[in-house]
Subunit: 510 residues, 2 copies
């Protein structure tokens, strides 16, 4: 065992394989980029195949290989299940799967795991039944949870070598030029898929909307694609937007949003040309609304907005309050349409979004980010992966990336969820180290990280109640009591990789 | 010595190093992509430097390394001379330079070669004084002439490993997001530079137009850029368009264009959705004009046009006669403006344009190309690199790429230039093998490659005079006589690499 910088005991076997977390910038080292094997396509060669099965055969997929998928269709994805079913029927076993994330709809994975088709998983997150099954301990090997920037890093550095990427494409031509803004199942940006396409040995594009050549704009170019398969449907458009809520009317969320907005607009970063990232939760979307009003009143415009994009952001762009949107992932139909028609709405891949080992990601230029949390502890560490019952049900996402890189990171959260405190002594699982978090915002007030003496000084007169993080915890505990400790087993079911590839925490079975 | 498939004796030393040309598709083999070394840029790091000298120092450039440049500024480029002057002053020696091409303005290179600063060169072409000096034999090591697709292949496969790329950027922000369609020295597409940026260990962006962050559209992303330097001027916009002539009034050129247009519009490929590439010479531009009239009359539209782009092509796009332009290089200001404002005018890199080892380049989808020639021989081999005096003065360009990949390649040329025949028994230098050439078009008529029995049959009733290639040669010789043989020396001054990396010919000193 070795204790890492956030105080977590990491078992030796993982220490040796990954190293332990030693600080945000402790392992940003020079490296050689990963190598892919290329089978050139000659002038008269065709890429169109008749079925997913034929594609699996042509790629030479074998037992023990690594395959990948993207999660841009979110709860509407049909691709993972279609491909995995076919692979299972073909009797291929012992696969590593490396989707950018896993959703509720991917419940059939449980069967593939139990039958030995899937033996290794890396993902940003695990939801509902798949998360519960993993937390029960159905896999021999722990799932590796990676942030969006961390996954990009892992692929670029060769920590993940993708043998075959199966990429759902809202539109493609016969030669594999793909975009996400045309077709029947538009998802907008293909930022995660673009990385897989660049580094996988073999890339299979699966589409339900075949376009005339050349299909532009091009998110994934023909030069990254080996085969194209047309199927009836790659996803359910309604499922893409699921969970991306409209503006909240919940008074607690509105108060959090108002406080967050005040922190931002009174910060040293709020000036002409500032930049921000918001999430998709109700409070987070409400922050955009408050920010918008402030920007109009103050005559201030943002240079760019970043992140998972929703209609709320698109409206700011169209109203001229935001100069540009940098879009790695869209959460609704309006954001896909905006990407297609507005030149200032720009698609970026996950490397450019957040890889800590790139020549500079966009989050490095970000002023402020508003991020959510399942738990925050009195060291400001954040858990976004396990529930209060210790079961995996969340996703790492861009949380540890954005918070580490931006100039001021706000973590917003209600003080209590149900009868469970959100601010706690020790989070069940550390995904984001407290050193990355600058301000915690709740409905009772804010707590500024004591390391940010500059912000404490700057916000001295701020018209928002201020507490220490321990005081916020005490208030929470005074209302609902201290949370019961979770009774974990001894088996490590998930590794929480920090964005640099070291282990920041492990999750044990429940 | 070994004799290659176009009958050329290649000295053993080069046979061993490169292999000999054995046919268009003989060496399209699987391979591992080249690797770059990446120095990650951390959140608070800056990329802006004060001078080219500081950039050279920061990159760690040393004796014996390889540096690259792009030729998008053509005769207006200031970057190569600025950087090479600074390097020479710093006393760095024995460099390999790998610009995408070399222009007349780069005459100062002769001094750098003579002083040992530059000891190896690879380029698409060499013009005027630099070409003459190379042909005289001032270098110990032969220049390696590569096609545009061949250069991309060489970089992607690691045959060229670029230690430092110095890339002139019409516009860039402080973090290195670059495009060619904004700024003071707009050149449009940065298709060649994009490849260097992706594969070089270190990339220095040199700009005279600094933009606010994030500068979009992004041709070269921040994730491919290490340093940014601002200088007074990177080029002369007038020099970019130099040589890209307007429509010709020369009756000989007009006749060639008319015949070429008839070949195309009567070919089996001329139908709704066909595609074509034209060059920039007077006759080539005139072909676009004739094609345009035919397309309007026949109610036929092209799906895409490809290549070095001029205003003539932009007009076809704007008039709806061409669906999309795929642009690896622009030759005038209107094409740069069109790229910026028209979503159907699409920038592609040189890998996607023409690399024979990619997963499929755009030329593989091309129906017909109109290419020029300095000489064509009775085996249909084409010389675009050496003059009738044997001196290097041309450029390989996309000639051997496009002709090999498209469905019907037209090589257009006057029968005679000055008092020198263009159709000859044997070309001085083979750049494109005769097997890639389908139809030769002159002002007296056409000759169809006898290998294309389908075209011979198809064009039986074509309203254009038809000859064998030997008959065309005989007509040329009957007017001006056979050309005098060139008295070459024994020293190999240039290797002509075929697009697959093998040697198709060598050029000796004159």
């Amino acid at each position: 065992m070795a204790i890492n910088k956030v105080g977590k005991d990491i078992p030796d076997v993982f220490v040796q394989q990954y190293g332990i977390y030693e600080g945000e910038l402790a392992h940003i080292d020079d490296y050689k980029e990963a190598v892919r094997n290329i089978h050139p396509v000659k002038p008269r060669d065709k890429k169109m195949l008749n079925s997913i099965r034929e594609a699996i055969e042509k790629t030479g997929l074998k037992d023990g290989m690594t395959i990948s998928f993207h999660h841009h269709f979110r709860e509407g994805d049909f691709v993972i299940n279609m491909v995995m079913d076919e692979i299972a029927k073909m009797g291929i076993k012992n696969l590593s799967i490396a989707p950018s994330s896993i959703a509720n709809v991917h419940e059939p994975l449980i069967g593939h795991i139990k039958k030995g088709v899937v033996t290794h998983i890396t993902s940003s997150g695990l939801r509902d039944k798949v998360g519960a099954a993993i937390s029960e301990g159905i896999m021999e090997n722990p799932v590796v949870i990676r942030s969006h920037g961390g996954r990009a890093r892992a692929i670029v550095r060769g920590d993940i070598h993708i043998d075959v990427a199966f990429l759902g494409a809202p539109s493609s031509d016969e030669y594999g030029n793909v975009n996400g803004s045309a077709g029947r199942t538009t998802c907008g940006s293909l930022g995660y898929a673009m990385v897989d396409a660049k580094y996988a040995d073999k890339v299979v594009v699966i589409t339900d909307s075949l376009m005339p050549y050349p299909n532009t704009p091009i998110s994934i170019p023909q030069t990254d694609v080996d085969y194209v398969v047309v199927v009836d449907a790659i996803g359910d458009p309604a499922g893409i937007a699921k969970g991306a809520t409209r503006f909240t009317k919940n008074p607690k969320e509105l108060l959090i949003a108002e406080y967050a907005s005040k922190v931002i607009t009174n910060s040293p970063y709020y000036k002409e040309g500032f930049s921000f990232q918001t999430g998709t939760g109700g409070a987070s979307l409400a922050v955009s609304r408050f920010l918008k009003d402030a920007m109009i009143e103050d005559g201030i415009k943002a240079s760019f907005a970043l992140g998972g994009i929703t209609n709320a952001m698109v409206e700011l762009l169209e109203e001229g309050l935001v100069g540009k949107i940098m879009d790695v992932q869209g959460f609704d139909h309006p954001s896909a349409i905006s990407l297609a028609k507005n030149a200032n709405h720009y698609e970026i891949d996950a490397i450019m979004y957040a890889s800590p080992l790139s020549k500079g990601s966009v989050i490095n230029q970000l002023d402020t980010a508003i991020l959510s949390a399942l738990e925050i502890d009195t060291d400001f560490n954040v858990n976004v992966i396990t529930g209060s019952d210790g079961i995996i049900r969340g996703a790492s996402g861009g949380h540890s990336d954005t918070s580490a890189a931006c100039k001021m990171c706000l973590v917003i959260s209600p003080l209590i969820r149900g009868r469970i405190p959100t601010i706690v002594d020790t989070v069940n699982t550390v995904v984001t180290p407290g050193s990355s978090v600058d301000v915690v915002v709740t409905e009772v007030g804010i707590a500024i990280n004591p390391e940010r003496k500059d912000l404490i000084e700057h916000f001295r007169m701020l018209d928002v109640p201020q507490f220490t993080i321990k005081q916020l915890k005490d208030i929470a505990y005074s209302i609902v009591g201290a949370p019961d400790p979770i009774e974990y087993g001894d088996k490590v079911v998930a590794l929480i990789e920090y964005r640099d590839g070291t282990i920041i925490d492990v999750v044990k079975n429940v």
